[in-house]
């Protein structure tokens, strides 16, 4: 096992990782920006170092500062959490050079899955279903031909893209030409790589993702799927596990495809394979997230596997503690991401001081958070306050428990998305479980 783990992140995920380390008995090192001096991860860690100014670029994305803190403190492993350094192959490479274990996949696997066009090609070769698409587009006329074959609409994507940037939908030849040109410009600007490709665009599919864990001995298991179809501008709002749209047969196929995908990437660590599911239960590989996911907690609730603990365990070189047949999924879990945003004003971020804070509790309720009464939410980072998760034997019971917990939750001093969720979980369509990625659009229209 490691001697000491540095957590190169902030907020609730830093707290989540420190908790896992403490339970294993591992000393932890927190790093923080000046704005985060009073954050919970700083006081929970064994030691803490201020590594830079408020802006992420000079702190949580500042590689020399992070590495300096690691060498000073004598940490022999770095956990990147999610966001920030978590999908930076160059950072994983630097850790390797300094003999510090990056808790995540190898730089090679990250590069392979990070380049969307290469990832699609690799998946197709290994028999993982992908949406019909092209390689890197070199000729616009050829692209038009291909679009005719797939049938419009199509989506043009930057190979280096992610997080909703560098993607454009086209409904006809004229739009396709514009989309390719604009997408290339955007991709060059945001990612320094102008390559784009095209694939058939599924209108309002479900967003289904499968949690996998792989050790360095080539063992791969999956913990079932999560449904993240309720999104607003590609940002997930509600996640649940299992998906109400996936039956046992599809679940088995999805799991097997995800394990094949991880094996194809020679993957080590925890990861998520994202699929699009259409109305006829066909699923297509979308991309792989080579890191711990925000919504991993709901998979923990239905599988009883501590994903972060297992992630650290396999990073230390140990084999997986579970075989696939050990994993028995039980019950239903739902997560709401509570943000410091004003739902009345188009989810405008609302940083400020939390002056009152009472968390919900009781059986099957989990709150992962880094805030407390008197905590000031800085304006420099994301607006996540907490992840509220509820488990129950059935979906309806989990939903009712979520409603009860949302009503119990008190956060004063800043605007939050609590009232928005209190309404959402009582919505008829949400109750039915029969929705797709178009949910928020219809929901908003009905409200107006």
């Amino acid at each position: 096992m490691f001697k000491k783990v540095l957590i190169a992140n902030r907020g609730e995920v830093a707290v989540r990782i420190i908790r896992a380390c403490r339970e294993i008995g591992l000393p932890t090192v927190a790093v923080y920006s000046q704005a985060d001096a009073n954050s919970l991860h700083v006081s929970l860690a064994t030691e803490a170092y201020c590594i830079g100014a408020n802006e992420s670029s000079s702190s949580y994305l500042n590689i020399p500062a992070i590495m300096s803190a690691a060498t000073i403190s004598g940490a022999d492993a770095i956990h990147p959490g999610y966001g920030f350094m978590s999908e930076r192959a160059d950072f994983a490479e630097i850790c390797k050079e300094h003999n510090i274990k990056f808790i995540g996949p190898s730089p090679e696997s990250m590069q392979l899955m990070g380049d969307k066009a290469t990832a699609r090609k690799t998946m197709a070769e290994k028999g993982v279903p992908i949406t019909p698409g092209t390689g890197i587009i070199t000729d616009i006329e050829e692209a038009k031909e291909a679009a005719k074959k797939f049938g419009y609409p199509v989506i043009v994507k930057a190979t280096a893209g992610g997080g909703g940037k560098g993607m454009r939908v086209a409904n006809n030849d004229k739009e396709l030409e514009q989309s390719i040109n604009l997408c290339r410009q955007e991709a060059e600007k945001f990612f320094g790589n102008p390559d784009v490709y095209m694939e058939k665009y599924l209108v309002n599919p479900r967003h289904i993702e499968v949690q996998i864990i792989a050790d360095k001995f080539g063992n791969v298991i999956h913990l079932g799927e999560r449904d993240c179809s309720i999104q607003r501008r590609h940002q997930k709002l509600v996640e649940e596990a299992p998906s109400p749209a996936v039956d046992n047969e599809t679940r088995k196929k999805l799991g097997e495809a995800a394990v094949r995908a991880a094996k194809a990437a020679n993957y080590e660590g925890v990861g998520t394979i994202e699929f699009l599911l259409d109305k006829d239960k066909n699923f297509y590989f979308m991309e792989m997230n080579t890191r711990l996911q925000v919504e991993h907690g709901i998979s923990e609730m239905i599988s009883n596997v501590d994903i972060v603990r297992e992630q650290i365990n396999i990073a230390a070189g140990n084999p997986l503690s579970y075989k696939q047949e050990d994993i028995l999924l039980h019950g239903h879990a739902i997560e709401c991401r509570i943000n410091a945003e004003d739902p009345e004003r188009n989810f405008l971020p609302a940083p400020g001081e939390i002056n009152g804070y009472i968390t919900p509790g009781g059986f099957g309720v989990r709150v992962d958070s880094h805030v407390y009464s008197g905590y000031k939410i800085p304006p420099y980072y994301d607006s996540l306050i907490s992840k509220l998760m509820c488990w129950a034997p059935t979906r309806e019971e989990a939903r009712r428990r979520m409603y009860r917990a949302l009503k119990e939750y008190v956060i004063t001093g800043v605007k939050t998305t609590l009232p928005f969720y209190q309404e959402l979980v009582e919505d008829e369509v949400f109750i039915s479980g029969n929705f797709d990625t178009g949910f928020m659009e219809t929901y908003k229209q009905n409200k107006e």
């Binding site: 000046q34 170092y49 201020c50 590594i51 830079g52 100014a53 702190s59 020399p64 500062a65 590495m67 300096s68 803190a69 060498t71 000073i72 300094h98």
Partner: protein, 153 residues
């Protein structure tokens, strides 16, 4: 407060000297006081001061203790803009770049901060006299931490 008169404290100090006591704690309903002896020279520290003026007359040493803190407010701190190891010398056998009491000029090298084996020479952005070096040679310094205090010219 009537018991904590200068005469009373002198008596206590005499008792301490004669009996070689190192510490005496006194308390009444208004205030408390700890007198610590450093060998035969007692150092007096006060706590919980309700009537500060009266207590200040008690011990000149106690007043002196507060003085450097007041002075610091007129000093310019030199703050680290990176995290690393703080070194006062170019190498272990050489002389320190600067010492307390030295006059320094803006742009002069004052220390080295080592980050991942890179030796970053740090220069002063003020001219003046160094009155305090706050970090020990070879110890970590964080972003935003005060390394030295300079009395500006």
């Amino acid at each position: 407060m009537k018991d904590f008169t200068p005469n009373y404290i002198e008596k206590v100090i005499d008792i301490m000297k004669n009996n070689e006591l190192t510490e005496v704690a006194l308390e009444d309903e208004h205030s408390s006081m700890v007198i610590k002896s450093n060998g035969y020279k007692p150092i007096i520290k006060e706590k919980d001061i309700q009537k500060e003026e009266e207590l200040n007359t008690v011990s000149e040493e106690a007043i002196e203790e507060e003085k450097p803190v007041e002075e610091k407010q007129n000093l310019v701190p030199i703050v680290s803009n990176m995290i690393g190891l703080f070194f006062t010398k170019p190498s272990p056998d050489e002389k320190p770049f600067v010492q307390v009491g030295d006059e320094i000029k803006e742009g002069q090298i004052i220390c080295i901060i080592e980050t991942i084996k890179l030796m970053n020479k740090i220069t002063s952005d003020v001219s003046g006299k160094i009155v305090e070096i706050c970090i020990e040679d070879g110890k970590p310094v964080e972003y935003g931490q005060v390394m030295m205090y300079v009395e500006k010219n």
